[in-house]
């Protein structure tokens, strides 16, 4: 007999969860007490979760990063900041609800917040385009960053997006230019910027607000150049091989810290941020406090120079005839 694979665990967990759901409905509708049965199943579900999340695969981490119950931007804003004043619009086309911008205080000190704004349910997600900004969203974020620069206030950017929106209107209004402009301007922003990747860091749509002095990443967030599904579709013409692609892309916080892309990994509760949001907020608050404290002491010139050097050295090169190694 072979030992159960992660896929077996997933399937079993889904079955147990469905059964719990069915019994709950039954107990509601028939006014029966099925607590005994349900608690047995819940124990079983917990065991399976433990088996899965003790050593989650890259694909499991992708699922956690996308979990609808995971804390989203509005939760972080409410938990970590006071005196929040939301800003609207890019002054060119419209206000993009997929991108948040605002002024606020963090432990009494002024900051500018920007971030992808995913919803917690389908209705909210439709209104906010699932956290996929249009060009006007990036332009709103840039406007907020320039405001922060003008008043030498630090920027805190929360990254959580499947990516840029593949729509014709987004193309017509120049989403490539909007992302490129944000990347360039953020790279030379004359004020501090801290990036927190909280969920999905989807390619250019994520990077458009992620060129920070410090890049923090939650343990079960992901950051990638292409979705695992998209990667699998290109490589193998088969999007169902996304779990393999997720492993190949090295998109987890641990991987990215090893590659030098992420400065610090913020620990999540067992089995994901949604299981104990307050613990996650405390973790993020502590990291923001530490890094903001350090960055406030650095001059704008020095910030810009260090930020350039930080991104300048990313990449692994090979000089023909010379051994492979990190770029200079």
């Amino acid at each position: 007999m072979t030992s159960p694979t992660p896929a077996d665990h997933d399937r079993q967990l889904a079955e147990v969860e469905a059964e719990i759901e069915r019994l709950r409905r039954l107990s509601r509708e028939q006014n029966l007490s099925l607590d005994g049965e349900i608690s047995v199943l819940e124990e079983r579900a917990e065991d399976l979760r433990r088996a899965i999340f003790t050593n989650p695969s890259a694909w499991h981490i992708v699922q956690l990063a996308r979990h609808t119950q995971r804390p989203h931007l509005v939760d972080y804003v409410a938990a970590l900041f006071t005196d929040v004043l939301e800003l609207h619009g890019d002054r060119r086309f419209r206000d993009d609800p997929a991108m948040f911008a605002g002024m606020a205080r963090f432990e009494g000190q002024p900051v500018v917040i920007i971030g992808h704004n995913k919803g917690k349910d389908t209705k909210e997600n439709i209104a906010r385009n699932f956290g996929m900004p249009y060009p006007e969203g990036y332009r709103k974020a840039l406007r907020a960053m320039k405001l922060a620069e003008k008043f030498t206030v630090p920027v805190v950017a929360f990254v959580d997006t499947p990516g840029a929106f593949p729509g014709d209107a987004a193309e017509e209004r120049g989403q490539a230019e909007a992302i490129a402009r944000n990347i360039q301007e953020m790279s030379r922003l004359r004020t501090a910027a801290i990036v927190v990747i909280t969920g999905e860091g989807g390619s250019g749509g994520a990077l458009a607000i992620a060129v920070g002095d410090v890049v923090l990443m939650l343990q079960y967030a992901v950051y990638t150049v292409i979705t695992p599904e998209g990667c699998a579709a290109i490589l193998w013409h088969d999007a169902t091989r996304a779990p393999e692609a997720a492993a190949a892309l090295r998109l987890t916080a641990k991987d990215l810290q090893a590659l030098g892309v992420v400065d610090e990994v913020l620990t999540e509760p067992f089995a994901g941020a949604h299981r104990d949001s307050d613990a996650v907020f405390a973790e993020v608050r502590d990291a923001l406090r530490r890094h903001l404290g350090v960055l406030r002491q650095v001059s704008p010139e020095e910030l810009v120079n260090r930020r350039y050097a930080k991104f300048r050295q990313l990449g692994v090169l090979h000089e023909t005839g010379a051994p492979a190694g990190q770029s200079r």
Partner: protein, 293 residues
């Protein structure tokens, strides 16, 4: 000096989209064209004006003055940092196919006597995709232009970021955009030319950050792929969607320039920007690290 600029132009057509022999078939209009005629017209179809794709070396050969191009970092290539499935083999195949180590060439040369740093991406090398080496070379080109106070010209032809290097390829968007930003801060001109096709991560970084942005007629230019967009919005897109002409109409680029006019247009821009002119037949440049002469 590289000898490839002195080789007969378009000497390697057989292994590209052209059948070997005296006649070539246009991939757009399917007409048979006398190959010599096609080469005389810089590989623009005389029947339908389709601008055939060029390799990076062909591109630089028809754009820059015949002598004086110095390539830098010719031996710099990407490694395989993630040990990504199949990547090492794909790189090797691309090297065999193109005879070049990577998807970009950069160096210094002149256009009608105007000195410039120039780079060209090669769509024939893994779709011109940007990994660590392409990002590094574009960055070094921008840094070189800044140090030598020269203009920068980049011909893009790319499917986007090189997926096989994972997020490190995404980071090349940041690296190149930041380098171009420094060039702008230094008051130096940067002309971006989008050739067929320029899509994905290259558009979301240096290609859309030019002071002036040109495109070749009919070039596909866009961030998201056409098929993905059609699936998302659940309708067919018009034929001209994401063409150079469409982008011009939408205000995304400055000019659509026919290949036959490109040299003259670039020389005019360089003259406007008042860059240094070549005094001697071959520029005496202090080569940066990794230069090949």
């Amino acid at each position: 000096m590289l000898n490839w600029l002195r080789r007969p132009k378009y000497g390697s057509l057989q292994r590209r989209e052209m059948p070997a022999g005296i006649w070539a078939k246009c991939p757009r209009c399917s007409n048979l064209i006398y190959r010599k005629e096609l080469e005389r017209s810089l590989r623009v179809c005389p029947k339908c004006t389709y601008h055939h794709r060029l390799s990076a070396e062909e591109r630089l050969a028809i754009t820059l003055d015949e002598d004086g191009f110095v390539e830098f970092d010719g031996s710099l290539t990407s490694a395989d940092p993630l040990s990504f499935v199949g990547y090492a083999q794909k790189l090797e195949e691309a090297r065999q196919k193109t005879g070049r180590p990577e998807a970009v060439i950069w160096g210094e040369g002149t256009i009608e006597g105007w000195r410039t740093v120039a780079a060209a991406l090669d769509f024939y090398f893994m779709g011109g995709s940007m990994g660590s080496a392409v990002g590094e070379k574009v960055t070094r080109a921008a840094e070189r232009a800044r140090e030598a106070r020269l203009p920068l010209i980049i011909f893009s032809a790319s499917g986007g970021a090189r997926m096989q290097e994972g997020v490190l390829s995404l980071m090349q968007l940041a690296k190149t955009s930041a380098a171009v930003g420094r060039l702008h801060d230094a008051g130096l001109p940067y002309v971006s030319i989008m050739c067929d096709p320029t899509t994905g991560g290259v558009t979301a970084s240096f290609a859309f950050l030019g002071d002036v942005i040109l495109a070749e007629p009919g070039a596909t230019i866009g961030f998201a792929g056409r098929r993905v967009i059609e699936q998302t919005i659940r309708r067919k897109l018009p034929d001209d969607f994401q063409t150079a002409e469409f982008c011009l109409h939408k205000g995304l680029i400055d000019m659509v320039v026919a290949r036959s006019e490109m040299r003259r247009t670039l020389a005019g821009l360089l003259a406007f920007f008042g860059g240094p002119r070549l005094e001697k037949p071959v520029p005496e440049v202090a080569a940066p690290q990794g230069a090949q002469t």
